[in-house]
Subunit: 204 residues, 2 copies
């Protein structure tokens, strides 16, 4: 039916492909496709090929499971990074967010998800055994949890904490509390309550 | 700089390509790219190739300038359409909008823009001469203007009206007025004023 509206199968096909993307409806898809159609053929080829090339050539870092161009990702391969501190994250988006802060000089380990019985995600679906291998074979001194404060994140933290206790490694978690610039008035009860309970003493 | 954040040139390249699309920022681009990365290679190839194929193979209908898979678009080639009524639209999006109403059984003529001295668009930049050729060579009885009610749309209507007067053809415009379901209270003064001035008499 929608095909007929377009009077062109080629256009219809491209719009339908774009409309499959999350958050992109048919109208937006048409707008994006017509925008690309107005570009040079070279630019359109660059666009289309970039995603195909990515899918075909992208690798998973053999150490941390980050997306990578090579066997070892740029972070793991960087000699300036501190290999003794490993930050545990759910996915690559979290790595990007932490890297942007430029506050972390260690390396990462991507779990590939969080334990979630409701979604059928068990500990064995995550990269926990490869994390244990790293703890056995690398000289890791500290593991930092940087997982979301959802039910799944907390469950995963708890599970990992129990698992990692057998290794001679310090375990920490990123600080939770009221965000910088947040107003107390609008901070949710859970966050504010925990921030009070976990208050930090001034050093005298 | 952004490249470093991603620790993968392939990923960075794909995200940058998506971020060039109108209304798509870097964060959305990353979300879309990671979504595609989770699909099968076949689906990713279909996505990338669909837009390249469109750009390479799409044609412009030699009669109405609509986007088309062939020399003649599906609408112009359809024997059930009334070739004697031509609807003048700015672009292909307007054709899609009118086709959806299923109320128009004639054919179209795509101007490819509107006269706009501010944007440097002169009548010669539009497909007006090809419209005149159609009026000379085809058996056209009526021309319907379906242009936006902007300054540019009105200017173009006026220009075309003067041009087309020499041809033995009826000229009309789609009806302007208060939209169905619109409340008078919230209708802008211009629309309401014109709707009163151009009131339609009940047939007795």
């Amino acid at each position: 039916m929608f095909n007929d509206d377009f009077s062109s199968k080629l256009l219809s096909e491209a719009v339908n492909q774009f409309a499959k993307l999350p958050g992109i409806g048919k109208k937006t898809a048409l707008r994006l496709v017509l925008h690309l159609l107005n570009q040079d053929i070279e630019q359109v080829e660059n666009f289309g090929q970039s995603i195909i090339k990515l899918k075909k050539e992208i690798k998973i870092c053999r150490k941390c499971n980050n997306l990578s161009d090579n066997d070892l990702c740029d972070i793991c391969a960087d000699p300036r990074r501190d290999n003794s501190v490993v930050c545990i994250v759910e996915n690559i988006k979290d790595i990007i967010a932490i890297e942007k802060t430029m506050q972390f000089k260690g390396v990462y380990h991507v779990l590939g998800g969080l334990i979630s019985p409701l979604d059928g995600i068990a500990p064995s679906d995550l990269t926990i055994s490869s994390l244990e291998n790293r703890l056995k074979n690398e000289n890791i001194k500290e593991v930092v949890f940087a997982l979301n404060t959802t039910m799944e994140g907390e469950t995963t933290c708890f599970y990992l904490f129990k698992k990692l206790k057998e290794y001679n490694v310090e375990i920490s978690s990123i600080a939770r509390g009221v965000g910088f610039g947040d107003e107390l008035e609008y901070t949710d009860e859970m966050t504010l309550g925990r921030a009070i309970a976990n208050r930090v003493k001034y050093q005298s």
